[in-house]
Amino acid sequence: MKTRWPGIGLLILMVWLSGCALFGRGKEYRPFDAKALERVKPGETTGTEVTQWFGAPTQVVRLSNGNAYIYARTLSKATGVWLLLVTLVNYDTQHDRIVFFIDKSDVVTHYGSSFEAEKAGYGMPW
């Protein structure tokens, strides 16, 4: 007589392993070019040139001695696993940022940059 146990075992295994996984990627994109930073020279470059090369800033901060232009874009990665009883979720968000300090004469005095967006990663929550 042919046994039915392997079929029943497979069915139970399928019920137990029912679940799903998610991989998500979100981007707040702004088209500023990191290579354009090579053209920026503190003491020479003007605020007008900065906006020509990098576009409109994400944020402008008014300072006592001028302004700060902040450019930012974001990359987020999400990983989720739904198993029978356990849900595991991980989000990682990283930014690319550039900040220019511009004095009252519209000249760039300082600038700084961080390019971390591509380091956003998928993973488990531990």
Partner: protein
């Protein structure tokens, strides 16, 4: 030679196992456990020893830390703020579906979450000289003890 188990007893055990597994599988949706982690931004490095108030300049800080999350005007001074946010959350949910039998379905939900921050603040004079600095590493605090503090 070992005596073999009767065929009926063996099948009975398997059936019991199968029924137990099927019963457990029915708890899907009644009992659930969720673990969540959210990280925003890169690690904020501790203050370098070579940073000295009255000596270190805005150029030095920007070269070492890059662009800040925020620039704040402080009327006569301004500050750069570097921040990393790290969130951990967990929840346990247990529901007993008895609505068809008793017209009530008792449920129990327990949730907890903890948000910690690594933060560095540099305050400058209008000339771009460091006037003050501060650093806190929240992510090094123990998860469980910090949550119950």
């Amino acid at each position: 030679m070992k005596p073999r188990k009767p065929v009926m007893e063996c099948r009975g055990n398997r059936l019991l196992w199968a029924m137990t597994l099927l019963l457990l599988s029915q708890f899907y949706g009644c009992l659930s456990f969720r673990i969540e982690k959210v990280n925003i931004d890169a690690e904020v490095q501790p203050l370098p020893q070579e940073f000295v108030v009255g000596k270190t300049t805005l150029t030095d800080v920007l070269a070492s830390y890059g662009a800040p999350v925020d620039v704040v005007d402080m009327k006569g001074h301004f500050a750069l703020h570097y921040l990393r946010t790290f969130y951990r959350g967990g929840s346990l949910s247990l529901g007993i579906p008895l609505a068809d039998v008793l017209r009530v379905s008792p449920t129990l939900n327990a949730t907890g979450n903890l948000q910690r921050f690594d933060s560095a603040v540099f305050i400058f004079t209008l000339d771009g000289v460091l006037a003050d600095m501060s650093y806190a590493r929240g992510t090094s605090q123990p998860l469980w003890e910090t949550y119950w503090k």
